[in-house]
Amino acid sequence: MLLSSLIFVPLIGMIVVMLIPKDKFSTIRWTSTIFSMIPMFTSFWITWDYFFNYSGSAAMAYVEGPFKWIPSLNVHYFLGVDGISVPLLFLTGLLSTISIVASFGINKRVKEYFAFFLLLEASMMGVFVSLDFFLFYVFWEIMLVPMYFLIGIWGGPRKEYAAIKFFLYTLFGSIFMLVSILIVYFTSQPHTLNILTLIKQGSALPYTLQMVCFIFFFISFGVKVPIWPLHTWLPDAHVEAPTAVSVILAGVLLKMGTYAMLRISWPMFPKALHSLSFWIAVIGVIAIIYGALVSMAQKDLKKLVAYSSVSHMGYCMVALAAYTSATAITGCMFQMVSHGLITGALFLLVGVLYDRAHTREIAVFGGLSSKLPVYSGIMLLFSMAALGLPGMSGFVSEFMIFIGSFGVLNKVLVSIAVLGVVLGATYMLRMVQKVFLGEFNLERWGGLTDINLREIITVAPLAVLVIAIGVYPKPLADLMSATIQHFITLVVR
């Protein structure tokens, strides 16, 4: 019931919100906060409980089902979690609540906004707990709807363009997924959509079919990651989306791609993975360097963070290419969590500044440190986390990814990827310098106020987690070690 509650509590919340009169802003806000806090605490509890009671084995925990749903197609309602989904549930629960609290400033069509947000949360949770392809696909697609409206209605000046681009791009990927799902469905004996069963059988598929399915899945998941060169929806969507939606986009949605790779296409088609891993690594390295270089050229604060996401998700792809190394895969998971926390916080912070200054152009600021010391301090903290400073989570994940992939992948390739560390420092510090250091323009920005308590509350948990993981990552690694061991045995078949 726990996992179902993660999906259905936000859904009920959505319905409740829709029943509230639309001009009662504060009631709507607090109702949705409460309905997102319930799954958040549930996900915390699951993480806690999983760590102590289930993390020793790779078996699915909190399994629900399989219950028959559409018997003629063999579709089941089948949920379960393991070491790679639990951290992401945690992340989803936390970031959803934070985003909702961060959305209190929304004044336009409040009711619809929060209703869509809760629907979004439900579908994200659904993706991370589904073990049936049909169910998975349904949640994967449902997620598009609230996202489309959230960007398209509450977004920035080019919101329609961004929303439709995001929608179509993802849908384009989904077609490939659907085809692949059909292929694996019809080649399985008896026909099944149970992901776990399909993983067991998957390796028996002929090589060509594996390749086709793998590449199709790769494209469809890759759009979400986003892999280079399917990434251009991301800067537009991130920049145009309202702050909280950017947080969810960067924090959770991008992880759905890498999660799906870990959960589905990697263990299902090991032979194809084996032949393509080098190219996946190449794509990852290109993303790291390319994303960093493009970030360097950005003039818009939010776009810079958006492109840094491309670079950071590149690390995940490198790690995924080094699939035989448990260290690299653990690093990949760490990077997913860490990127969610750090980039989520960066988007929140950019939003804080945007709310006050109504511009995000890097060049117009300068010397904010003297006027907004607390804000600048927090921003500096997360900038440092983003560039992989030790003591924070980003460093742990990057280090593990590099050290894991160094032993498995081409060493020169990994060494090139390490360049991303310097480039990352360059674009982050360039931004910090231009925005926070230098002379303060008192005339123009004299009216800016420092970050307020509500905003601090939204980023504080992220800061705590980023540092906690950076200082003592062992619990997180232990939580998923059994699952990752199992994963390795599946992909090395």
Binding site: P229, H231, T232, L293, A297, S370, F395
Partner: protein, 694 residues
């Protein structure tokens, strides 16, 4: 106490956290608390040092698991061995002096508390770096000192130069760290551990192939090149002088920049295992040393002279360590290791003092330019005398501490004539530029009367640390007296203890070289027997080259920074125009295609449908007249049919079947009949049926 050595770094961290979150508003409390913490750390360091001496240098190690992975375990732990104990002493001593001094120097700064918070964070990182028991952990703190250095260089961030300098420092050192990282990956891959003991054991056992070991050692050295500002990554250190002077003293002279030397000393086993890597280290060291010393000869900013002096001295140490590795790998004895670490210690004291002294001078005259100083001896007595003590020490004059360590460095070049020659040249230049500084600052006539008149000695809180460091600049070197049987050399020994011997010849030569440097400076800048201006004119091109620091900054700007930025912008264009262009083109093309489809649909497909409908309607319009209901017409119709049939039946005999013709004639005749019938009925019921079709 050694057991609790982990507290030594944690106390300053506590100070940082408490200041940031609780004491920030109370300046006095912030500074005093920070100082109290570092003094406790200092006391503990003294005890740790004494205990280590009592244990005869036996190492103590303790750790916890940082992360537990199938292939290896990353750990965080402490290792207390003689090298650590000495470094702890150095860092806490200079740290405490600098913090006390800062009370005076930073007085009245709006971010006074923050300064102490940052200093405490730095001390935490630096002490953590020193007590680390493995390469992974040293890297963590390595980056953290980089962060604090960044924060402190940019402390006065309103100044553009400071904001530029801190970014430059961070990124330049990160380039070096790139090498360090790759070195770590190789270590992890080939050795499976980062623990010092584990790494050295495996290296000594020959687990790694020689080529790999060389590569690994050189990559690790990359980190040292960045942090210790060695050629070619030295460019950040002079700019780092934009930070407050206490910072320059603590971080950019005494401790952090020495971390590179410490790293090489720590991982000396790697270099002992690889002759080539050692040679690289030694060559980089001496090249840096000579290069920086030559630049220091002509600079006019007091802090920049000291900065280049620091680079030069660090090059000295690096060279000594490299030569140790080189000689030892070839089976010779060498004083290099001992010389390098010894010089590291003494240098920390006298260079820290020099910077604090420079800060005191700047505090007095409010300028960095030595051309605006002069004659300050009378105004700032304590500062001047302590500064000169440090200058004597760095010049290597008997019996100041610098003499003993520098002597060992020169001694370590025994058997390498080129190195020996160059180290002596550097020794000469060092004495020269230091005393050029002294004479221009403290002697002669004041060149800026206004500044001179307003000059005053700094408060006690600043001069007392100067005196403490002056004391150490004289006596700290005595722990390494060659006549001591259990001196510094046997304490920090690595591998086989090197028995130092007093070499009178060496001592004499180095004293003569240093003395002549001072004499030349005296003649040029005090007696003015030799005119500096004429020298400048005579060697104009060389002077220009040196004054512009060999144009390294410009070279990097043109050769590295601009291309990278341009490439970034190019990629951005590529992204927006090509990749996104492709996406938008796909979108646009889809729309156009849809338009074409729509046109086709509307005019061709639907046109066919509508056309057939139209045809049917028109046909019906015509044919409906057949259904006239008039008996006569039907009769006529039947008759025509019969006649036609008859005709064709008749024709069939001759022409065989012609169905098309037949049907056309049939239809024609029907239409004809319809027309006839219409004429008969005279337009009866015409318009009603026209719109009946849907």
């Amino acid at each position: 106490m050694t057991k609790y050595a982990f507290l030594i770094p944690l106390l300053p961290l506590l100070a940082f956290v408490l200041i940031v979150f609780f004491f920030r508003w109370k300046e006095k409390l912030s500074s005093l608390f920070a100082i109290a913490m570092i003094i406790i750390s200092w006391v503990m360091s003294v005890m740790v040092l004494l205990e280590t001496i009592a244990r005869h240098g036996a190492p103590y190690e303790a750790f916890y698991q940082f992360i537990n992975l199938p292939k290896f375990i990353l750990e965080i732990g402490i290792l207390v061995d003689p090298l650590t104990a000495v470094m702890l002493m150095v860092v806490t001593t200079v740290g405490a002096c600098v913090e006390v001094y800062s009370i005076g120097y930073m007085h009245g700064d709006p971010r006074f508390s923050r300064f102490f918070a940052y200093l405490s964070l730095f001390l935490f990182s630096m002490l953590g770096l020193v007590v680390a028991n493995n390469f992974f952990m040293i890297f963590i703190f390595w980056e953290l000192v980089g962060l604090t250095s960044y924060l402190l260089i940019g402390f006065w961030f309103e100044k553009k130069s400071a904001a530029d300098a801190c970014k430059k420092a961070f990124i330049t050192t990160r380039v070096g760290d790139l090498g360090f990282l790759v070195g770590l990956f190789m270590m992890g891959f080939y050795l499976g551990t980062f623990n010092y003991g584990g790494v050295f054991e495996k290296v000594a056992a020959g687990v790694v192939p020689a080529g790999i070991l060389t590569l690994m050692a050189i990559f690790v050295f990359g980190g040292a090149v960045g942090k210790s500002a060695q050629f070619p990554l030295h460019v950040w250190l002079p700019d780092a002088m934009e930070g407050p002077t206490p910072v320059s003293a603590l971080i950019h002279a005494a401790t952090m920049v020495a971390a590179g030397v410490y790293l090489v000393a720590r991982s000396i086993t790697l270099y002992v295992g690889s002759t080539e890597a050692s040679l690289v280290v030694a060559v980089i060291g001496i090249v840096t040393s000579v290069m920086a010393a030559t630049i220091a000869l002509v600079q006019n900013d007091i802090k920049r002279v000291l900065a280049y002096s620091t680079i030069s001295q660090l090059g000295y140490m690096i060279m000594a360590l490299g030569l140790y590795g080189y000689d030892t790998s070839l089976g010779h004895h060498s004083a290099g290791f001992y010389a390098g670490t010894f010089h590291l210690m003494t240098h920390a004291f006298f260079k820290g003092l020099l910077f604090l002294g420079a800060g005191s001078v700047i505090h007095a005259v409010h300028t960095n330019d030595i051309q605006d100083m002069g004659g300050l001896l009378s105004k700032t007595k304590i500062t001047a005398y302590t500064f000169m003590i440090a200058s004597l020490s760095i010049s290597g004059i008997f019996p100041f501490s610098g003499f003993w360590s520098k002597d060992e460095v020169i001694a370590s070049t025994g058997g390498h004539p080129i190195f020996m020659f160059l180290t002596l040249v550097v020794a000469f230049m060092t004495a020269f530029y230091m005393w050029r500084l002294c004479f221009l600052t403290f002697f002669g006539k004041p060149r800026d009367q206004h500044r001179f008149e307003h000059a005053h000695e700094s408060p006690k809180v600043m001069t007392v640390p100067l005196m403490i460091l002056a004391f150490l600049s004289i006596f700290a070197g005595w722990v390494g007296l060659p006549w001591l049987s259990n001196g510094f050399s046997s304490f920090v020994f690595h591998g086989e203890a090197y028995k130092t011997e007093a070499s009178w010849l060496m001592m004499t030569i180095s004293t003569i070289v240093a003395g002549s440097g001072i004499v030349v400076a005296y003649l040029m800048y005090y007696k003015k027997v030799i005119s500096p201006e004429r020298m400048m004119e005579r060697f104009k091109p060389i002077y220009t080259l040196l004054y512009n620091k060999y144009y390294f900054d410009e070279l990097y700007q043109v050769g590295v920074l601009n291309p990278v930025m341009a490439f970034g912008r190019l990629m951005w264009k590529f992204d927006a125009k090509v990749i996104d262009g492709l996406v938008n083109f796909t979108g646009w093309f889809t729309i156009v295609w849809a338009d074409i489809q729509q046109w086709f649909d509307k005019w061709i497909i639907d046109g066919a449908v509508n056309g057939s409908g139209w045809l049917v309607r028109q046909g019906a319009n015509v044919l409906k007249f057949i259904q006239s209901g008039s008996m006569q017409f039907y009769a006529l119709f039947i008759l025509t049919g019969i006649v036609l049939f008859g005709i064709f039946k008749f024709e069939l005999v001759f022409i065989s079947y012609r169905w098309p013709t037949l049907s056309i004639i049939f239809i024609l005749s029907v239409v004809l009949l319809a027309g006839v019938s219409r004429m008969i009925q005279g337009g009866y019921e015409t318009n009603e049926n026209a719109e009946s079709e849907e």
